[in-house]
Amino acid sequence: MENDYIISWKTAGIALGLLLVVATALVKPLGVSTQFVVTDAMVAHAIAPEFAESNEYLAKYGVPTNWLPGYGWMLVIGMLCGGALTARLFKSRQPQQDRGSMPTLWRERFGHSSVKRNTAAFFGGMLLLFGARLAGGCTSGHMISGISQLALSSFIFGIVTFGAAILMAKYLYRTPS
């Protein structure tokens, strides 16, 4: 169980920590969730520029970059490429039970319906980004980058997030009485 991934948690953790240090030295720490707003702003600006410019929040993330991609957005595109490339190269070494779009754990608890799984995934995603934008960051920007910078806000975010996620996970996977 301990060592059944392509690289171990130790290697991945050390590599991620070093990557964060490199990013902080070169440009700024890692962050992902802001780029969902930037993407929304780009799409909204392409479809309905007046609406996008009148929306205070979208405009905040659209104007400084002239509604064009910046460093953070390129980082997200890089994540897609890096993920796609390594997934192609190392697919055969990925544990069998982690392949495919229907997690075994979910199927055992909630059944075979992919509609059910995808609906939950969609609404989960909605809560994720609503929460991340309200709190000002996500797992990368707040927890990993933020705590590494000793930011008080990120310690609070980390504790509350893990607390809520553990309670929700325990509720979803409670043993039926």
Binding site: L20, T24, P29, F36, G83, S101, A120, G131, A151, I166
Partner: protein, 176 residues
């Protein structure tokens, strides 16, 4: 232009590490949230342990480009709770849903689409939310360094040591 290219390559490495290290595995993520499989939390604690030390070593030479998020208590607590619930429901976080989508997982693509909608809904409600939850009890961008009044590196060394110790020796998987 150079910054954009740097961003792209840092992103590539980030995506590769998350995939190779199993951060896109629903089994690993839910295992951690159910407090049975410590893989993900050990990975995160190691990353933060290395990151904290590295960033504050950079800081000694004034080489760190900090990005500290402000402390607005209500927004962070409520946002963190909503984020945590979404994390447990979908099994992904914003970064891992991107990588898992690239990997070809359809449920991750649905999380990604949900995330774009969630960010959009937030942008529509922003003026009200800002007045209520972000401008109230907002103490600005505080770090433990400011709060305790000790140079960062002296806090980074013990924090880093504790996190690495917990990751390497403290946390054990618990399967019945």
């Amino acid at each position: 232009m150079e910054t954009l290219i740097t961003g792209f390559f840092i992103g590539c490495a980030f995506g590769a590490i998350l995939y190779l290290g199993g951060a896109t595995s629903y089994r690993r993520i839910m295992g951690t949230l159910l407090l049975k499989d410590m893989w993900i939390i050990k990975l995160m604690a190691t990353a933060i342990g290395v990151g904290t030390l590295g960033i504050y070593v950079l800081d000694i030479g004034n080489l760190a480009h900090f990005s500290i998020k402000p402390v607005y208590v209500w927004g962070i607590v409520l946002g963190g709770a909503i984020f945590g619930i979404g994390w447990a429901i979908s099994g992904y976080c914003p970064g891992t849903c991107l990588v898992a989508t690239a990997e070809g997982k359809k449920d991750a693509l649905f999380t990604l689409l949900g995330a774009l909608s969630g960010a959009f809904i937030f942008s529509l409600l922003f003026p009200t939310i800002e007045a209520l939850l972000i401008e109230n009890a907002n103490f600005g961008a505080l770090t433990l360094e400011h709060l305790i009044g000790v140079q960062g590196i002296y806090l980074a060394i013990p924090l880093s040591a504790v996190l690495l110790f917990v990751a390497f020796f403290g946390l054990k998987d618990r399967y019945q």
